[in-house]
Symmetry: C2
Subunit: 240 residues, 2 copies
DNA sequence: ACCACTGAGGTGGTCCGACCACTACGCATG
DNA sequence: CATGCGTAGTGGTCGGACCACCTCAGTGGT
């Protein structure tokens, strides 16, 4: 595409659509620090006139930045810049997991295996007593019920707690997206029908033991095996 | 054929905004397979009347799904579903890298270190002669010039070629986002001013040697060290 | 002096209708 | 048969109108 990025910060020649230009300009304002996280933007009407476009086009631009987690519109109040933290910006990652299929699912699970194993290893080294208690809470709750829906909830919370304990919010947010509810539900529907409940419980117990022992390498192996089990099963499902 | 959503997890008769509902409905259509990748959607006007909303609101919904890489609007032709591949859906990942700052940058680089090292290890085991030639091409081109802009280009292409050789398109797409042009340019501006050119060249050479030797473990270590160097430098920059 | 209520103004949310810019495809033309 | 052109249909843009909601100053009571 076009290359030159001179000093002209707001230099926006006749690019693509008017709306796309507005998106880039607002994004640039934030990138250059002219709009701090949490700041309130001018009204839609003012923004539109400032950039010389109609309110309709400006609204499309705002909507685009809203779904990306960059802006937040509060009805009756105004438009605000989000905190631009990992959780805000990576929320869209869930869409990828929800709409991927076929080979893409396996690749996604492979990425999760890599990140989850590392995150679990980090957690083993850094986890605090409070965080460990949180992990244990979901572990026992998971083992105390037979309702698949509830198991899934605590399963997600179990791994989420570990992700938080790893101390890298960005990684935790990515893992959160890779483990979105619909994604897991879709994959597990068939997997757990093959009596994988018990195996899952054993694997979770192994991860927990490694965390208690503060043994990063064992934790890494246990987490990799845990995700790898599902990954391998899914791989066979795509080989009819 | 629409209206009431039968039993469901989020049984909410009247959700949020009309536009958000339209976004969810279109997303659901794709998720349920009612819209195949590459398929053409009805016109904006038809879609709007089908869902009982105005064309303006429908356009906002379409715009939202467009920036997410789910839909693609072609002026004068129609609206189409993308191929829903990794590259389409993960394009938004670059926005995260562009707008993150402070501690988030280090976390992002940590994620990249984990994924890049694994990808490089996989590449060492799987890379083909053609792919290896591609890697070498950018390596030599990178060493043959002093233009920072050109070096950056070949640097990106160098790692991109390795990511492709790893055989996981999803991981390659994520790494592509984590290494977006503006992201790298921002971080390297200061880094390379401290005479890190030579060190970067040595690290790239080490990665290349490991690929030629088809030694995954050495490749993993070399890649981790390479990214880790930048990561550590950036970490010190945030401790004033 | 304090607090609860109320009203008006401002904001985002939705809708409508018109026109423009571009593409696609069939028809007339050579 | 190949070429060119015109038309119908599509997304893109615009302006205005009205609605739903939040905010806060002003009011009235205690």
């Amino acid at each position: 595409m076009d290359e030159s990025l001179p000093e002209g910060t707001t230099a926006a020649p006749q690019k693509g659509t008017v709306t796309q230009r507005a998106i880039d300009q607002i994004k640039a304002m934030i990138g250059e620090g002219r709009l701090e996280p949490g700041a309130r933007l001018p009204t839609e009407r003012d923004l539109a006139s400032q950039l010389g476009i109609s309110r309709s086009s400006m609204r499309e631009a705002i909507r685009a930045l809203t779904v990306l987690g960059v802006l937040e519109a509060r009805h009756g109040s105004g438009i605000y810049v989000t905190q631009l933290e990992a959780g805000d910006l990576l929320e869209t990652f869930g869409v990828v997991a929800d709409l991927s299929r076929g080979p893409g699912l396996v690749e996604l699970l492979e990425v999760r295996r890599i990140l989850e194993s590392t995150a679990t290893a980090l957690a083993a080294a850094r986890i605090t007593p409070d965080q460990l208690a949180e992990v244990e809470k979901h572990l026992t709750a998971m083992n105390a019920t037979d309702d698949p829906e509830e198991i899934l909830s605590h399963d997600l919370a179990f791994h989420r707690a570990i992700g938080v304990a790893a101390g890298n919010d960005t990684m935790a947010a990515i893992l959160e997206g890779l483990s979105s509810r619909t994604f897991r539900a879709r994959v597990w529907r068939g997997y757990q029908e093959e009596g994988a409940f018990e195996r899952t419980r054993r694997e979770h117990a192994a991860i927990h033991r490694a965390l208690v022992a503060r043994d990063p390498e064992t934790a890494r192996a246990a987490a990799a095996a845990h995700v790898g089990e599902v990954e391998q099963w899914l791989r066979t499902q795509l080989q009819p």
